[in-house]
């Protein structure tokens, strides 16, 4: 039986009013603007866009402000907003080969065409708190250097030339879309990649780390990691041709993995792929490792039974909005459910007690 209980309206209204006040904090401190969040907390903005699965830096910044910096709450707001937008269509598949790279490194080839470009990275910083940032500080402009225009080819192309790595053959199958059809098993690679690119960073990192520690180990090297912007092109029906409708920042990671061959494939290197909205390096590397781990079946490998090789386990637990929704619902009123549990326990205790009394009497 479901019993509706009323009476919380006043308390809820007041709780929300207090939330708004706490969100603002001390009014003697200047209020944050959306532009400040977008420009100065840009990596938070990127994470919210990636896991919210909607590329819009201003909206992500607004969501971060509204959620008091709780990024999963912000992602929730973006996912909810996303469902209200009419969809105009799909883009043509973007070409990461024409990326304007801010950063491009390879851990497998030192002297690669296009060079090792470090970009605005935390790598090689000393991870010491910088107290200069606590004071108002002017930032010196970053040095620049004349650019020799050069192509920045994908690293895997070099290995392809020798036939040492599996190819990713061109294909134009319309991919499945988990925002339109519920995620169901078995999930093909296109569906897995869509689920992984919007998955929780922490969960994906943990899964990727587990493969490195030996649970389904696949010996990954970062063949290439690149961050930069690419144009997005869409076919416009009323025009009869495609146009660029914008430009997005992406992080792409290609891993090169050891592979000793299987019943169907010769010994060669295999690949894992990570591609994520924004400057989201940790997530993109994690995604590539997990993608590779989940490919065991199509590569004819034996499963080690590791969690990261179990598509159902990974994909059904990777979405932080689904997980949060189910986890946090248990804090909402379950008075009637609990009342029946309470009755049951009392009854069992009464019966057990009666039994003991009876035994003692005998």
């Amino acid at each position: 039986m479901y019993v509706a209980v009323k009476g919380g309206e006043r308390a809820i209204e007041n709780a929300h009013a207090w939330l708004a006040e706490e969100r603002r904090g001390d009014t003697k401190v200047a209020e944050l603007t959306i532009e400040q969040i977008r420009e100065q907390l840009s990596l938070s903005v990127h994470r919210v866009m990636a896991e919210g699965s909607l590329y819009d830096p201003d909206l992500a910044a607004l969501a971060i402000k509204q959620s008091r910096g709780d990024l999963i709450e912000a992602i929730f707001l973006i996912r909810a907003y996303r469902t209200t937008l009419p969809r105009f269509g799909s883009s043509k598949p973007i070409d990461t080969g024409v990326m304007d790279c801010d950063r491009r490194i390879s851990a497998t080839f030192k002297d690669l065409p296009g060079g090792q470009i470090l970009g605005p990275t935390f790598d090689y910083t000393h991870r010491l708190l910088d107290f200069k940032l606590a004071a108002d500080g002017e930032v010196a402009e970053a040095p620049s250097r004349d650019v020799e225009p050069a192509d920045v080819p994908h690293v895997t192309e070099f290995l392809n030339q020798e036939g040492l790595i599996e190819e990713a053959p061109h294909d134009d199958t319309m991919p499945p879309d988990l925002t339109r059809e519920p995620l169901e098993m078995p999930a093909d690679r296109a569906l897995r990649l869509q689920a992984l690119t919007r998955s929780d960073e922490g969960f994906t990192l943990g899964m990727a780390y587990s493969t490195q520690r030996g649970y389904g180990r696949n010996h990954a090297f970062v063949g290439e990691l690149r961050i930069g912007s690419v144009p997005v092109e869409m076919e416009i029906l009323e025009l009869g041709f495609s146009i660029e409708i914008g430009e997005i920042t992406l992080t792409e990671c290609e891993t090169v993995n050891q592979f000793t061959g299987s019943k169907t494939e010769p010994p060669q290197f295999t690949r894992g792929y990570g591609l994520v909205f924004g400057q989201t390096e940790r997530k993109a590397i994690s995604m590539a490792l997990v993608d590779r781990a989940l490919r065991w079946e199509e590569l004819g490998e034996d499963s080690a039974g590791a969690p990261a090789q179990d598509a159902e386990f990974v994909l059904y637990h990777a979405d932080n909005i689904q997980a949060t929704g189910f986890l946090e619902h248990i804090k909402l009123p379950h008075y009637v459910d609990f009342q029946s549990e309470l009755e049951l326990v009392r009854k069992l205790r009464r019966e057990a007690g009666a039994h003991q009394v009876q035994e003692a009497a005998e």
Binding site: A50, S53, L54, Y55, D56, D58, L59, R82, L85, P86, R87, F88, G89, S90, S91, P93, I94, D100, D102, R103, D111, G115, Q116, I117, L118, A142, P143, S144, R145, D146, V147, H154, T156, A168, P169, H170, D171, T173, M174, P175, D177, T179, R189, A190, L191, L193, Q194, P231, V232, M234, E238, L239, F241, S242, I243, I245, G246, I248, Y273, F277
Partner: protein, 151 residues
């Protein structure tokens, strides 16, 4: 290859330029260039999304990467030319300005619009790109090998 195709279709090129312009920039250049002509909406500015596709391994089978916000509109000038806009973000005023420029480029004002709006937009985009690439270039590693004294 891509450039030659774009030269064959100049409209594709200018619509892309208008879509990628920073917020407010097309409006500002338009108002500095010409009095806005009167028009009627064929499709009033509308905010929606586009599903961005990518390819597994960069070159393989397509998958859905996530959506991006897009504003679109279409209008017709009194003289009959139809202007379209599809631009990134939620920017109705910018979409209107972009569609007006698209329509004007089909009129006698095309040369004036090209010189006062499209060329500056292209130059600004190239300058933004060059500034970023030259900062990236400054972080390029120049490896050198230390001579080992073993002989």
């Amino acid at each position: 290859m891509k450039d030659t195709f774009e030269e064959e279709n100049p409209r594709k090129r200018w619509m892309g330029l208008l879509a990628k312009a920073p917020a407010g920039r097309v409006s500002a250049l338009l108002d500095a260039c010409i009095a806005r002509p009167s028009f009627e909406w064929l499709r009033a500015p509308e905010i929606g999304s586009t599903m961005v596709q990518a390819r597994a391994g960069g070159t393989g089978a397509p998958f859905n990467l996530g959506e991006m916000s897009v504003t679109r509109c279409a209008l017709t000038l009194e003289s009959g030319e139809v202007g379209h806009a599809y631009i990134q973000g939620r920017r109705k005023a910018d979409a209107e300005a972009a569609a007006l420029v698209d329509a004007l480029m089909q009129t006698d004002a095309a040369e004036q619009v090209r010189t006062a709006i499209l060329e500056p937009l292209a130059a600004e985009a190239a300058a933004r790109r060059a500034a970023r690439s030259s900062k990236a270039a400054a972080t390029k590693v120049d490896f050198f090998t230390l001579v080992r004294g073993e002989d």
